[in-house]
């Protein structure tokens, strides 16, 4: 194991390989404003699309009158469900969501029709001119009652999307010698709030298909869903990644893609679409709000014996990734602790609320707030230090988690916590503000890569060729989404390390190369990075074969190093071996997993990642405001392929966690979002983030490229729990929900109203 420096300050020179702080290849264009995001795409003669959306959470469509819209000068077409040539359904896990509503709308903002016009303003005006005759139906807006007998069924088969029943170990009998703590916890609906709006450009192709340039986390699953909806063979759809302005889970589901493609097919012209911020809030899924009831049982000396949890997630109107999200909530309901008896019922239901799906943390973050709150409460009841209680129960390599799976990779949970706990305390305030300080801790566990038997893989093509001036260079091609996380940087680094060629560029990220899987589950460096590594190995093998043929040396006596093939009789520069380009494609798979059985048991996960936080806050209890003073985060990343990138993921994850802890919540009333904009959906600013101290641990994994572990999600997971613990410590307030609102802290304060 090695410890990376706390925070690399500056990027090393270009040419650096795995482990170095390489600079982003797309960085110069981004800082110069020249990087083309999907909302910047434009071609001559393009049209602009706009969406007609439901104002009702639940209604039957009796008719759609497009005549007024079509009469507006500059409007070319209005498309409704009747014009969807294929199967009018999409969805990541279940195809239950119409591309355009057919007969029924199930949430406020559901697309009903799309319009193409010669300018964005005309398209928006035309969308407003489409008259939809709705018969308003009773809406189900409370997840608690969604599955009650007699409740209307929003989808065939009822409103229960998935119930994960997990039974691990034997129940613990009642014993007065044991300590039990119970609590109910709530997590609000969070938005990914990526800054780049949903946007794309669809262009008809000569063969009757579509070339779609878009922001997405997964080109191939977009393509497959589009093919089904448009009634086209997948080969007719060419998808290219456009510049992505952040994702965080919110670009897993389709948004503008099918609508723009429909309009382009209908008009035979290029069609651009881009959502204004307000529309973006209904244009993508959100983090599931959660209600969680917990009971923890422990011995008086603080050994956990049992965790019981009843978890309810509001999935909203369509399934999206709800089945997998609730799977995570159930599997990680007990946290990174060794607990002999775990009993979980985790359900996700359909309602007429906004659809929920993927967001960084994906089911694991909701339960983390609950189980860590329980751990703090247990420590309080036991009179034990909360750090000590956690250390006493932390999983280690060889421990079994609630699914019965053995943690076989590095699990330095105790070490991570000890590291943040051992840091010197944050410096005291000097400005005399009337605040109280509190310190809280959080630990988390999360699966890395896809789970439960999914055949998940990455594909990469690596092409080694000679530039006209005779220098060797590499082009990498994958369909993996660069969403800001720095995947392109690590791909370059891997090539440099494997082939010793500094000049590494990229071919378009598109569907002409094989599937890369999704930029989520903290998996792309592992999966697409692994595919690039394997493709490099194939290139190397071909080079060695060529050198062996040329020199007559056995291949085993040759090696590739520093941009040359070394033979017993001297080195051959690469340039002499690649008058014909070497072009290799590889598919990388992680080890297989299996689905959970009916008891929620099974080896469902590829790997686990862990992080610990210590959060220091100053609370102005009279005003109910929380100032984050400092966040210390220790995270095991296996191998930091790019320490600068790892630090960026950690800072960014911490801040999204702070947002969920103290300010970010989509407020929904009667199915309607009350705050669809950055005026009232608040995300942390530069003034809200406090000081950060990062501790990057590198416990190499035995089963991943270079020993790495995914890094994107863990730095966020236990931030809300640690903030809540710190606020409790500072104020004594009982905190059972995040975000913590000022009114939650002042409601009990002794200030007469």
């Amino acid at each position: 194991m090695s410890i990376a420096p706390e925070r690399p300050r500056t990027a090393a020179d270009p040419g650096v390989g795995v482990g170095g702080a390489a600079a982003r290849p797309d960085g110069p264009a981004k800082v110069r404003g020249e990087f083309e995001f999907s909302s910047d795409l434009h071609v001559p003669g393009m049209l602009h699309g706009a969406t007609v959306r439901s104002p009702h959470p639940h209604a039957r469509i009796r008719g759609i009158d497009t005549s007024r819209a079509l009469a507006i000068r500059g409007v070319l077409t209005v498309v409704t469900a009747d014009d969807v040539a294929g199967t009018n359904r999409f969805g990541l896990e279940r195809r239950d969501q119409p591309v355009l509503a057919d007969g029924l709308v199930r949430y406020v903002g559901e697309p009903v029709a799309v319009v193409a016009a010669t300018s964005p303003a005309t398209a928006r005006r035309a969308a407003e001119a489409v008259v939809v005759d709705f018969e308003v139906l009773d809406a189900i807006t409370d997840a608690e009652t969604a599955t009650a007998p007699g409740t209307a069924e929003l989808h065939p088969g009822g409103n229960l999307v998935r119930h994960l029943r997990l039974r691990h170990g034997d129940p613990v009998p009642d014993d007065p010698g044991l300590v039990r703590v119970s609590g109910e916890y709530h997590v609000g609906m969070q938005d990914q709030a990526f800054l780049g709006p949903e946007s794309c450009l669809a262009e008809p192709t000569a063969g009757g298909g579509i070339h779609l340039r878009c922001s997405t986390q997964w080109l191939h699953i977009d393509r497959d869903q589009l093919a089904a909806a448009l009634g086209l063979p997948p080969e007719q759809l060419h998808l290219t990644l456009a510049g992505v302005g952040g994702a965080f889970g919110g670009r897993e589901d389709l948004s503008v893609q099918a609508h723009a493609a429909l309009l382009a097919l209908r008009t035979g012209r290029p069609v651009a679409m881009s959502y204004p911020r307000r529309e973006s809030f209904v244009g993508h899924v959100h983090r599931h709000p959660a209600r969680m009831r917990y009971t923890h049982t422990a011995t008086r000396d603080g050994r956990l014996l049992a965790v019981e949890a009843d978890i309810l997630l509001d999935g909203g109107a369509y399934a999206s990734t709800s089945p997998a999200v609730v799977g995570n909530a159930g599997c990680f309901a007990a946290g990174p602790y060794a607990v002999p008896s775990v009993h979980v019922d985790a359900r996700v239901v359909y309602t007429n609320n906004p659809p929920c799906g993927a967001m960084r943390g994906f089911g694991a973050i909701q339960v983390c707030f609950a189980y860590e709150s329980q751990m703090d409460e247990l420590a309080r009841v036991l009179g034990m230090d909360p750090v000590e209680l956690r250390l006493r129960n932390a999983v280690t390599t060889g421990s079994t988690i609630a699914t019965g799976q053995t943690v076989d990779g590095p699990a330095p949970v105790a070490e991570l916590l000890e590291r943040v706990a051992a840091r010197p305390p944050a410096p005291p305030r000097t400005d005399g503000a009337p605040t109280v300080r509190g310190v809280g801790y959080g630990l988390s566990i999360k699966n890395i890569c896809k789970s439960a038997g999914v055949d998940d893989y990455g594909t990469a093509r690596v092409r080694l060729f000679l530039r006209p001036d005779g220098r060797p260079a590499v082009q990498v091609q994958t369909a993996a989404s660069e969403v800001g996380q720095g995947l392109v940087t690590v791909q370059q680094q891997i090539v440099r390390t494997e082939l010793g060629v500094a000049d590494v560029g990229f071919l378009p990220t598109d569907t002409t190369v094989g599937d890369a899987g999704t930029a989520s589950a903290s998996r792309q460096t592992w999966m697409s990075g692994g595919a690039v590594q394997q493709a490099c190995h194939r290139v190397r093998d071909e080079l060695l074969t060529r050198a062996a043929t040329r020199t007559g040396h056995p291949r085993d006596d040759l090696r590739l190093q520093d941009g040359a093939v070394h033979t017993p009789t001297g080195a051959i520069p690469l340039a002499e071996l690649i008058d014909d380009a070497v072009d290799e494609t590889a598919v990388f798979r992680h080890r297989t997993t299996s689905p959970l059985d009916e008891e929620g048991q099974g080896d469902a996960h590829v790997a686990y990642a862990f992080a610990a936080h210590r959060v220091t806050v100053d609370v102005d209890a009279e005003l109910g405001t929380v100032e984050v003073v400092e966040v210390a985060c220790a995270q095991d990343v296996g191998k930091a392929i790019n320490p600068l990138g790892v630090a960026g993921q950690m800072h960014g994850g911490i801040v999204q966690g702070l947002g969920l802890a103290i300010m970010e919540e989509i407020q929904v009333r009667d199915g309607r979002i009350l705050n669809p904009g950055f005026t009232d959906y608040l995300i942390p600013t530069a003034a809200d983030v406090g000081a950060h101290h990062l501790d990057i641990l590198e416990h190499l994994r035995p089963d991943s490229p270079y020993g790495l572990t995914g890094v994107g999600e863990p730095p966020m997971l236990s931030v809300p729990a640690a903030v809540a613990a710190a606020v409790r410590r500072a104020t004594g307030a009982a905190i059972h929900r995040v975000p913590i609102r000022p009114q939650d802290l002042t409601a009990t304060a002794d200030v007469p109203g």
């Binding site: 608040l682 000022p742 109203g753």
Partner: protein
Amino acid sequence: MDQHYFRPTSLSDALALRSERPSATVVAGGTDVMVAVNEGRRRLDEVIDLGDVAELGGWDLDGDRVRVGATLPLTRVTDELAAHLPALAAAARLVGSPPIRHRATLGGNIATASPAGDTLLPMLAGDSSIEVASVRGIREVRSDEFFLGPGRTVLAPDELITAVRATTARGEAFAKTGTRRAMVISVAAAAVRIDPERRHLGVALGSVAPTPRRARTAEAFGARELDWSARTAPDEGWWAELGRRAASDTAPIDDLRGTADHRRRVTAVLVARCARQAWSRTC
């Protein structure tokens, strides 16, 4: 210049235009108007842009009287007026973000007449008046009589806001609270001015009623109880009582930014803190 967008360069031209076009939208910094335009809540068919009217963009001091031009950007209010009107400078500094404050103006804040208009509170607490002009002449309106409701003022269709007229003071303070530490609309805000020379105690409250308002009960209590001649500092309990009286002057609502109960509670706190700070600045 397009015929629907007017950029007068003198006040007299601006007033003449306003008189001819009472339905035109008046724009100074644009930071409120354009939010509504971009959201489709407002259309701009005709605009009178005051940005190039130099007479409105400065401030001057005459003895203890300050006249602040309506289009002075908030950045300059903060940078240049802190010594004369500390609460106004402080309130201006807490509006939006730096780029907003580079453009936003006092006159715009007044015309928008938001119950959460931070810069309005120091005006109310300090008995400032608002100078308005039309081709008919100039008049001054007491700031606490200017606002009628959210977005509604006593401004006549042919009038423009030209300045804020204030008396300088050291003993004043402003505070606001919201869910975020920067760039946040006030959930509650308060300004307090204490002027021992004039035996004036002004308390103004934001985001707790349909308009920014004076806390009359608190002011009466304070004026009665403060020891103006001996200048003995009241104790903590007294400041808290002043805050409680101010809370009773509120008429808050529950909305997505906070509950009425929370607004009442924090109003008491903000007023007590501002009053204590204002008092300490008088000494």
